[in-house]
């Protein structure tokens, strides 16, 4: 086990690489009552086309990663969820565009629960009956999401911004696409993506890092497997596919998602890009910045207004979302302000203050073992060192922010997705 020291944060993380290719990170916290483990694969809703074991390219239906996530809890001896729940922990999982993660937290039986987690995730067990039954459950979940106007606005934005990149697909797929999934599909995807070399294990709490590594070594397959080739389609053009999309739903007032399509960066640059892009979000969309107050005072936005940066392999964007009586005007005002800032430059005092606030906010998030483990896992997949953020902040200049504004926040890279109330 190597110990990675982050003195500025008063934090250390133990790391090791097992012979089978699995990376393990352990954040030891003697004071915490809970222990947390997060076992993730670099595989999500956008990874639909990949090369199978026979060397042929395989196209799988939208929603298969998420479907697999649901079915992974099944084992030959029953459902792992209940086995772990009987042990006092509440395991769960999520699927994003580029990652599937399984986790649990609990206050006792950590080692036994870790064994169960590693075992049910790595040993597939699917039957035609259980797949058919899950199709009903997931169809319900998909319908529930289709009733959620925030989700609809978000996916509307992705579909508008991206021409062909598979991030356009709903992570859960559609009722139609998941109807094509069979037990065989799931086995193929599991074999391709659930190999230790494509996964990461992060744990935190009052635990012994060496025991985590020993258990992983015991439970998981010992032999390394080659990396899987994934195809995300043609490179995306810099401009958005379309500038506008709208839909009508049962909402009390219009809801929107406004996006600026970016150019993704990787590795240490990826972490810097995230920090710069998040500062630009603050600069344009946070209450600290002049635009926010102006829009708020004109009644164009309300407290629901927020923004974020998002990236996955092959795509990166910033987005703002919220409710507004006039989303069109919000877009106009945001673009005008972005162009002004790019031309006239960013106020140095404001920039320094936003940097300080962003740093403090990231320190605050380290309280959460869950957030920390998920960040460590994401950073691992992106070949970045998350906890180096204090140094990354020091290296970021105002000019970086202005460059990003001039490059991303322009008309041709802007899309607006609106959910309108029914008449």
């Amino acid at each position: 086990m190597d110990k990675l020291e982050y003195t500025a944060l008063g934090q250390s993380v133990c790391h090791c690489l097992l012979p089978n290719g699995l990376n393990i990170y352990v954040d030891v916290r003697p004071e915490y009552a809970k222990q947390f483990a997060f076992f993730a694969t670099r595989y999500g809703g956008m990874d639909l086309r990949f090369r199978g074991e026979d060397g042929e390219w395989l196209d799988t239906p939208a929603g298969v990663a998420h479907f697999l996530e649901h079915k992974t809890f099944d084992t030959e001896d029953g459902n792992a969820l209940q086995r772990m729940a009987a042990n006092g922990v509440d395991p769960n999982a999520f699927t994003s565009a580029s990652m599937t993660g399984y986790y649990f937290d609990g206050v006792r039986g950590f080692e036994e629960n870790l064994r169960t987690l590693l075992s049910f995730v790595s040993v597939p067990w699917f039957t035609p009956e259980s797949v058919a039954k899950e199709q009903g459950i997931i169809a319900q979940e998909i319908r529930m999401c289709e009733d959620d106007p925030n989700d609809e606005a978000y996916y509307g934005l992705l579909e508008a911004m991206y021409v062909s990149h598979p991030v356009r697909n709903r992570v859960a797929g559609t009722v139609e696409s998941i109807s094509c999934i069979t037990a065989d599909t799931l086995y193929q995807c599991h074999r391709a993506f659930y190999r230790p070399g494509n996964m990461v294990l992060c744990a935190a709490g009052n635990i012994d890092p060496q025991r985590v590594a020993d258990i992983a070594q015991e439970v998981l397959p010992g032999a390394p497997a080659p990396a899987v080739a994934v195809d995300h389609g043609r490179p995306e053009p810099v401009q958005v596919g379309k500038h506008d999309t709208r839909k009508t739903m049962a909402v009390s007032m219009p809801l929107f998602a406004l996006g600026f399509k970016g150019t993704p960066a990787v590795g240490a640059e990826g972490l810097r890009q995230r920090l710069v892009a998040e500062l630009i979000c603050d600069m344009l969309f946070s209450p600290s910045a002049p635009l926010y107050s102006r829009l708020y005072e004109q009644g164009l936005i309300n407290g629901s207004f927020g923004s974020f940066y998002s990236s996955s392999p092959g795509c990166a964007f910033v987005a703002a979302e919220g409710e507004s009586r006039d989303p069109e005007r919000v877009r106009g005002e945001v673009l005008k302000e972005a162009i002004r800032l790019g031309r006239e430059g960013i106020d140095p005092a404001l920039w320094d203050r936003l940097k300080r606030a962003a740093y403090g906010t990231m320190v605050r998030h380290l309280n959460s073992m869950e957030d920390t483990c998920i960040e460590l896992a994401e950073a691992h997949f992106n070949r970045a060192d998350y906890l180096s953020f204090p140094q990354a902040f020091q290296s970021i200049e105002r000019a970086d922010g202005e460059a990003l504004l001039r490059e991303w926040c322009v008309e041709e890279r802007t899309a607006l997705s609106v959910i309108l109330p029914e008449e």
């Binding site: 809970k34 006092g88 007032m253 203050r353």
Partner: protein, 426 residues
């Protein structure tokens, strides 16, 4: 971890949990008043208007600049309901001094800023600024009307409205949209003055700083609030339904139905001897992933996408919340109630009971890892108990719960009201 509790004046208290396990401190001030249709809107609106600006930081931009300078400290209002009380709070989470890049203290200036926002607002002709009241009134009204967007929460909200109609408990803690839209600066100012002088006041701090430092910071920042007041906190517990079971159905444009079912706990609340048994009963019935509702109604019968139960430990209610296909309403409802019958008969295994107890004690212990949850628990504790170390005792009591006691708690549950949210067609 050390717990402190101190009376600063009659009806004004400071409680603190000193621990260095977090990288942050959490400071909160909570003003508690009886929940009523007359004042609820003002209670919800006041902190929003205050958040727009103080005399020294008169607009959001300048106020944000102040929190940015405190390393991005969060400073925000919260309106919570505890039984028939409305709790109006400001909460702030801020990095511990240790991580401040320039080595300056963060606790004292954060407390000072919170005090300033609560007690020294920007004024116009001796009252709140009219434009702030007007726009926050509109925002609050929008928020109240937007409740309907979250169908899962909406179904439970509608259930409570129907079930507790006539009780102050059913008053929306956010007030009414109509009242929010028509609120005037003068009226809100009068309610604000009344809130400051009459409410029960609870300060809370969780973090690494010593109690003396916290008390000193609080006394300086909130001096005008440290006056004695007679502010008891009461809750009206209805042990039994007032009449036969009612079913209420609303139709909306949704693709999935929602079924919410409300029970009275037969008078069991967090202060009751059989409360630990009820908590275990809820976990076993619908409060965890190995609960009867999850395993049988969702997994075995596939009747719901989700089905869970939760308790209001102050008021003495249990609510089942589920999402179902329209065609399955009757079957799902029957299955949910059948599972409760099984609980009443004691039809569960020792393993299920042990697992439920573990789930409960695990979640109680785990709450100690979150500053926000510790604050929330402590607020309930000081408002209705004023006893320290209560969680440790609860864990012990939960561990000792027997199968008979769980069945006994289930037998006390009385079905009161059923709410169905169905589609517009079919």
């Amino acid at each position: 971890m050390q717990q402190h509790w101190k009376r600063l004046a009659d009806g004004v208290e400071l409680s603190a949990i000193q621990t260095d396990k977090f990288k942050t401190g959490l400071l909160a001030v909570t003003l508690t008043i009886p929940l009523s249709g007359e004042t609820a809107t003002a209670g919800a609106l006041i902190p929003e208007v205050l958040s727009r600006g103080s005399r020294n930081h008169p607009d959001m931009e300048r106020l944000s600049a102040a929190t940015d300078a405190l390393y991005g400290a969060s400073l925000g209002p919260a309106v919570r309901q505890r039984g028939e009380s409305q709790c109006v709070s400001f909460l702030s989470s801020f990095i511990d001094d240790h991580y401040a890049l320039d080595g300056s203290a963060v606790l004292e200036p954060t407390a000072a800023l919170m005090g300033e926002v609560l007690l020294d607002p920007v004024l116009q002709e001796g009252a709140f600024r009219r434009d702030y009241v007007e726009s926050e009134g509109v925002n609050l009204a929008d928020r109240i009307e937007a409740r309907v967007n979250d169908k899962r929460g909406w179904a439970v909200f509608r259930l409570i409205q129907e079930m507790c109609a006539g009780e102050a408990y059913a008053v929306d803690k956010l007030g009414s949209a109509q009242c929010a839209r028509s609120m005037t600066a003068e009226r809100l100012w009068a309610d604000y003055r009344a809130l400051l002088s009459r409410a029960r006041v609870n300060f809370y701090y969780g973090g690494a700083a010593r109690l003396e430092r916290v008390e000193d910071a609080v006394r300086r920042a909130f001096a005008p609030l440290l006056t004695g007041r007679d502010a008891p906190v009461r809750c009206q517990v209805e042990a039994e339904p007032r009449g036969p079971v009612r079913t209420v159905t609303d139709a909306m444009d949704v693709t999935q139905g929602k079924l919410a079912i409300g029970f009275r706990t037969g008078g069991i609340t967090m202060a009751s001897d059989d409360y630990p048994a009820l908590v275990v009963c809820n976990a076993l019935y619908g409060g965890s992933a190995n609960s009867k509702l999850f395993l049988n109604v969702r997994e075995k019968l596939s009747l719901c996408y989700y089905a869970s139960s939760m308790l209001d430990k102050v008021k003495g209610l249990m609510v089942v919340s589920s999402g179902v296909e329209f065609a399955q309403f009757d079957r799902a409802q029957e299955a949910i109630l059948d599972q409760l019958e099984a609980m009443r008969r004691g039809d569960f295994t020792q393993e299920e009971l042990t697992a439920a107890i573990r789930t409960v004690t695990g979640s109680l212990r785990g709450r100690q890892d979150s500053q926000g949850q510790m604050e929330d628990d402590r607020l309930t504790g000081v408002l209705f108990h004023a006893a320290a170390g209560e969680d440790g005792e609860l864990i012990k009591a939960v561990e000792a719960v027997t199968a008979d006691q769980v069945a006994g708690a289930a037998q006390k549950l009385k079905l009161d009201t059923i709410f169905r949210l169905t589609g517009k067609e079919g």
